[in-house]
């Protein structure tokens, strides 16, 4: 066993770090916060593209970097640690791009992949519906063939960045009579198509990330279907073996913890720095332990992937653990800041520019989005531990 990185890997890490120090400045983050676009920057995404790092996980023939799993891990860790905004490329790079590489026609690949690797197009994901959340396969948004088009009718919900996106990858039902998983087709939809209405869903942070998306007689050309008709469920489950260790979450938490430690050292209460308060020390230390654990979970997933194994329930654990961890971190951060914790970004009194309050509120959604914690545990129990299905 060996937990060290090679010299080359260390060099790569240093280079990424230099780049991020220069590009992800406090000014940039502050600006995004003030614009209500935390984690979303087309400009930064373009810079990653220019550097050749945006699609580093993709095969070279599709404009990717063909990076090793360890490089991807390091890259993800540094991006997370520096709180680099990823909202403008996450869907394209991690989900729809890889899916097209596997299932797309030559035409589709030509049309979409290049734009993604250049960071020119923002994608959103049209999966969840009001009555299809954890039970996604019960989705009802209909697509009916009509000449050379499909006509799509229905509603999507919790669509992150729909109001910022150029394109949407969308799951629809094309055969209502087939068993649930077998009547679903997968489409690429231009967000400028007539019939699409976006209604904002403002989250608890009063920021606008989620949307409802209504599709009313939206015509989509047949060639925008990915894979075969009624095979959409299986197509959407395909992912390339790019790094999905979840490293960004503990890495980002580590940075936040460091900021909290700094805060505790600089802030006096009753004439004594918070850092000398034993209870606060232990709370922070508990988080440090949990963050180290989270990092090791992610390393292990990446390591599995590097060997060509496909993580299934291991990735579920990483998701579950990471998001629950951020919840605790937000909670502990709030406790440490005491009365100040309730202040919001923009107040001159707010510590750490309101980052902790944001984390506290934002973390609530993280244990729900992309599979709730409960669903993650079900997956672990049934797939990982082979317990009988309920």
């Amino acid at each position: 066993m060996d937990f060290s990185f090679t010299e080359e890997e260390e060099r790569f890490r240093a280079e990424v770090r230099r780049f991020l120090k220069k590009e992800v400045t406090e000014e940039l983050l502050k600006d995004l916060e003030e614009r209500g676009e935390v984690d979303f920057s087309r400009e930064f995404t373009k810079k990653l593209a220019e550097k050749g790092w945006l699609a580093m996980s993709w095969p070279k023939e599709y404009g990717g970097g063909g990076a090793s799993m360890m490089e991807q891990l390091i890259f993800g860790e540094e991006l997370g640690y520096h709180h680099a905004p990823s909202g403008a490329h996450r869907q394209g790079i991690n989900l729809i791009g890889p899916c097209l590489i596997v299932h797309g026609t030559e035409e589709q690949k030509g049309k979409y992949l290049r734009a993604i690797t250049r960071g020119e197009v923002v994608w959103c994901q049209g999966f969840s519906e009001p009555n299809a959340g954890s039970d996604l396969a019960s989705l009802q948004c209909r697509a009916v063939a009509d000449g050379d088009d499909y006509v799509i009718d229905g509603q999507k919900v919790w669509t992150s960045n729909a109001h910022r996106a150029d394109w949407c990858h969308l799951l629809t039902r094309t055969d209502p009579d087939a068993p649930r998983h077998r009547g679903i087709s997968y489409f690429l939809v231009d967000m400028k198509s007539p019939g699409i209405t976006i209604r904002p869903l403002i989250n608890m942070l009063a920021s606008h990330d989620f949307n409802e998306v209504f599709l009313d007689n939206v015509r989509v050309p047949k060639e925008n279907m990915i894979g075969e008709k009624n095979q959409g469920w299986y197509v959407s489950q395909t992912t390339l073996n790019f790094e999905r260790s979840g490293i960004a979450v503990p890495a980002s938490a580590k940075r936040t913890l460091e900021q909290l430690v700094e805060y505790a050292k600089e802030t006096k209460r009753n004439g004594k720095p918070l850092a000398r308060d034993p209870i606060i020390r232990h709370k922070l230390s508990e988080m440090a332990v949990e963050i180290e654990v989270g990092r090791m979970i992610a390393y292990r997933v990446a390591w599995m992937q590097g060997k060509g194994l496909i993580p299934s329930y291991e990735a579920s654990m990483s998701k579950l653990y990471g998001t629950e961890l951020v919840k605790r971190l937000g909670d502990i951060g709030m406790q440490i800041m005491g009365l100040y914790s309730q202040l919001e970004t923009g107040s001159k009194w707010v510590p750490l520019r309101g980052r902790i309050e944001r984390a506290y509120l934002f973390s609530l959604g993280a244990t729900i989005a992309m599979g709730t914690s409960e669903i993650m545990k079900n997956i672990i129990a049934v797939r990982g531990l082979e317990l009988p299905r309920g």
Partner: protein, 377 residues
């Protein structure tokens, strides 16, 4: 990076598991809980024949010269089977301490006997103050002619009642810090003036009270330098803490497997209880605990084995695994229902030891304070 065990390590694991399953059934574990000695000399001899006691000792001392990580693998398996007896204190607390701090003569004298299973060692560190910090060492050693005379009471000393030699941690002077003025001695357990009594404990693991009354130890039995013994103890504690974590993870893994088997088989309301979502989530949480515990253990063990600075990683590992083992054992009992609370069920063997193991080498609060210092607080 390489997060896999080597083929040799996998083989070691398999053979250790086979051996312990056969030679150390739970019936023996229970028997030895009641036994005065608390170990089986026959099993001890067989383990020596396998070379286990000398696993990580260099070949020149009759050891096998294997890595620290190999020892971790072995200890996981011992934890899995809750092997009773003085392996841990002889090899980790005694053998490694002599290896870390002994003179060539001392190594030559003691280590081959350890490797061959002829000698049982232990460390007498903790006292009624019940702390692993240097400040807790009050037992005095005073120079007298060519010897030192030791007076004091040691408590929670593992297997002192069967040990041949004790590595006794004493205070020889009062320095500027509690860490200064500590001196280690290799004390013959049969020396006049030593009184030893086994304490009844939850883990039935033969922790002893050892009273030193004017115990005379020859000067050449000093381990390390006068007044500068603490760094040797600190190094041993670091190794022992990780080693303890390995035992705990092995135990937690066994408790998890036992629970999974049970919930798949136990039927209530016409279906296996493992099909109820609440039980599934308990099990998923148990597995996450064990799996994360392993990851964090191996990183710490690797660092310790490589001789890298590891204070933070070791404290992180113990702080986490303390909670892991307790959680898994407790939920394991809950999944078993009443049968899990009985003396004759194996879950209890693990549950009771989860507490003893947490206390050994620092409970969660102690570890958190170490981590707090390490993150700049």
């Amino acid at each position: 990076m390489n997060l896999d065990f080597s083929e040799e390590q996998e083989m070691l694991r398999t053979s250790a598991r086979d051996f312990l399953t056969k030679e150390c059934p739970k019936t023996l574990v229970r028997e030895l809980e009641e036994d005065e000695k608390g170990y089986s000399p026959e099993l001890w001899r067989k383990m020596a024949e396998l070379g286990w006691m000398g696993l990580v000792l260099p070949e020149e001392y009759d050891g096998m010269g294997m890595e620290f990580m190999d020892l971790i693998v072995l200890l996981e398996e011992m934890g899995r089977n809750i092997l009773p007896g003085p392996f841990f204190c002889t090899v980790v607390l005694g053998g490694l301490t002599i290896l870390n701090g002994g003179t060539e003569e001392q190594k030559k004298e003691f280590l081959p006997k350890v490797a061959n299973g002829e000698m049982i060692l232990t460390m007498a560190l903790t006292e009624p103050s019940a702390t692993y910090e240097a400040s807790g060492v009050k037992t005095k050693a005073v120079a007298k002619d060519d010897a030192f005379v030791i007076n004091g009471t040691k408590l929670f000393v593992e297997n002192a009642h069967i040990a041949d030699y004790l590595v006794c941690v004493t205070r020889t002077s009062d320095g500027a810090s509690p860490e200064e003025g500590i001196t280690l001695f290799l004390v013959d357990a049969k020396s006049p003036g030593i009184k030893c009594e086994v304490m009844p404990t939850i883990g039935a693991d033969k922790l002893c009270e050892v009273v030193f009354e004017d115990v005379s130890v020859p000067r050449q039995n000093m381990l390390g330098k006068l007044d500068r013994g603490w760094p040797i103890v600190a190094r041993t504690l670091e190794q022992a803490t990780v080693a303890k974590c390995a035992e705990m993870i092995g135990s937690a893994q066994a408790a998890l497997e036992m629970t999974l088997a049970y919930v798949k088989e136990r039927v209530q309301y016409g279906r296996p209880i493992g099909s109820f979502q609440v039980v599934q989530h308990y099990c998923a949480n148990m597995w996450i605990n064990v799996d994360t515990g392993k990851s964090i253990l191996y990183e710490a063990a690797w660092r310790v084995g490589e001789g890298l600075p590891a204070s933070k990683e070791v404290a992180v590992a113990k702080g986490w695994i303390n909670e892991v083992y307790k959680f898994v054992a407790e939920r394991g009992v809950q999944c078993h229902g009443a049968i899990g609370t009985t003396r004759d069920h194996d879950m209890g063997l693990y549950y009771r030891r989860a507490m003893a193991a947490e206390l050994a080498f620092g409970d969660t609060d102690c570890q958190r304070e170490v981590v707090a210092r390490q993150i700049g607080l």
